[in-house]
Homo-oligomer: 244 residues x 2
């Protein structure tokens, strides 16, 4: 999709259908009116993850909220192919960055996993959700990934919700991720798991390595931070089996 | 390389040779002694981009600096294959993040380029250099990428310092980057160019598209922020023609 810096896209919860007025939140009205200086009768593009994207006419932009009128559907709904990022919460700044980049790179589910060495055990979930929504708005996605409730590492392997889990192993001698994926077919659902700053514990690594649903892959000769490994792995997945 | 969280690696300017004492800066001594609680006779690993990595014994860690004695070479020098990232300076936080990630992903040269729509025209170069050094220390690199003096977009194309320049074009219908690179051989030197937040101007895009040294590539169906596009492009390069 080509990029139009003047096009403002916002995510709303309501259904979108032609000529059925939808409300805008106070924050959306503030952003449109005060930050971006949009006026009544100008356009805004809305999406809700179900009804595609609609060009809407601004009917009201006030202090307490606003209203918009869907005029024409500018894109029909396309569902992002499922891809889950399992991640141990890391420090606030890199975690927020990771969530933003994961949304841009087409993740559909974000699953926090508490591991033995996870030091950040209190995530601000509301803040991560708002970062995910903003990233979806800016990246021209038609849906917003779901932030799932945090689970523990044993729960993860007990009820693994994907068919194939890619594990970026820091061991020497792992096969390069792109080479591993080029031998796989696209069948089944995929996930990528990334450990915390200090890596997985020995027991966790052993559990991953001995699970037949888990595929170990390498990400080159340098040591990558947790969030860098996640972004690199998502990129290689999208570039081989995914939608790049 | 497998990751040892207890191994502290630091970059120094001095030559490293067996049993020739080297000085540590005040900041390095503070980090070793006060932050990481290392004491005299414990080990630290030093590299300078020329003499490989050396396990050194701490001789002194004080308020004004320190000293270390190279005991044995733990890795011989390996030069990172040349790869230049040409980037328009973006806002401070994403730019610092980009520099950190580019170092982890194996860039050897960082070349800031002022484009028509570049809004951040004053970079803190010292700060970016210290981020690059820290990222090299943590990623187990044996060298630190060079931050080159800022140039303008016309200067870039006039004196292009690489044989092939990958341009991540936001136009619809670009061929996927991995597909384009799979048809290239590794010969010659490579660079990747990324625009500012608002993208390249029409004239700049035309100049890139009509230059035969420039190869346009696509990065999937979503709109990526400048720093995300850079990280994704570096990952795909390393994963196809590079050292992953």
């Amino acid at each position: 999709m080509s990029f139009d810096p003047n096009k403002i896209r916002l995510h709303i919860a309501n259904d979108l259908q032609e000529r059925v007025v939808v409300p805008l939140t106070r924050e959306q009205a503030h952003y449109l009116g005060n930050v971006m200086r949009r006026k009544e009768s100008e356009s805004v593009w809305l999406f809700n993850g179900r009804n595609g994207e609609w060009r809407c006419e601004l009917l009201a932009v006030g202090r307490k909220g606003g209203e918009a009128l869907p005029v024409e559907q500018s894109a029909s709904q396309v569902d992002t192919p499922p891809l889950t990022l399992f991640f141990a919460p890391v420090k606030r700044t890199p975690m927020e960055f990771l969530v933003q980049k994961a949304v841009e790179l087409g993740v559909t589910h974000l699953q926090p996993v508490l591991t033995e060495r996870t030091t950040n055990r209190r995530m601000k979930e509301e803040r991560l959700v708002s970062i995910a929504i903003e990233a979806a708005e800016q990246s021209e996605r038609l849906d917003v990934p779901v932030l799932l409730p945090t689970i523990s590492f044993p729960e993860l392997l007990h009820d693994l919700p994907v068919d194939h889990l890619l594990f970026c192993d820091e061991d020497d001698g792992m096969n390069a991720m792109a080479d591993v994926l080029s031998c796989q077919d696209e069948g089944g659902s995929w996930g990528i798991i990334i450990g915390p700053e200090g890596g997985f514990s020995g027991a966790e690594r052993h559990a991953l390595q001995s699970d037949e649903r888990v595929i170990g892959v390498g990400l080159g000769p340098r040591i990558l931070r947790a969030e860098t490994a996640a972004i690199a792995a998502l990129t290689i997945f999208q570039s081989t089996l995914g939608d790049f």
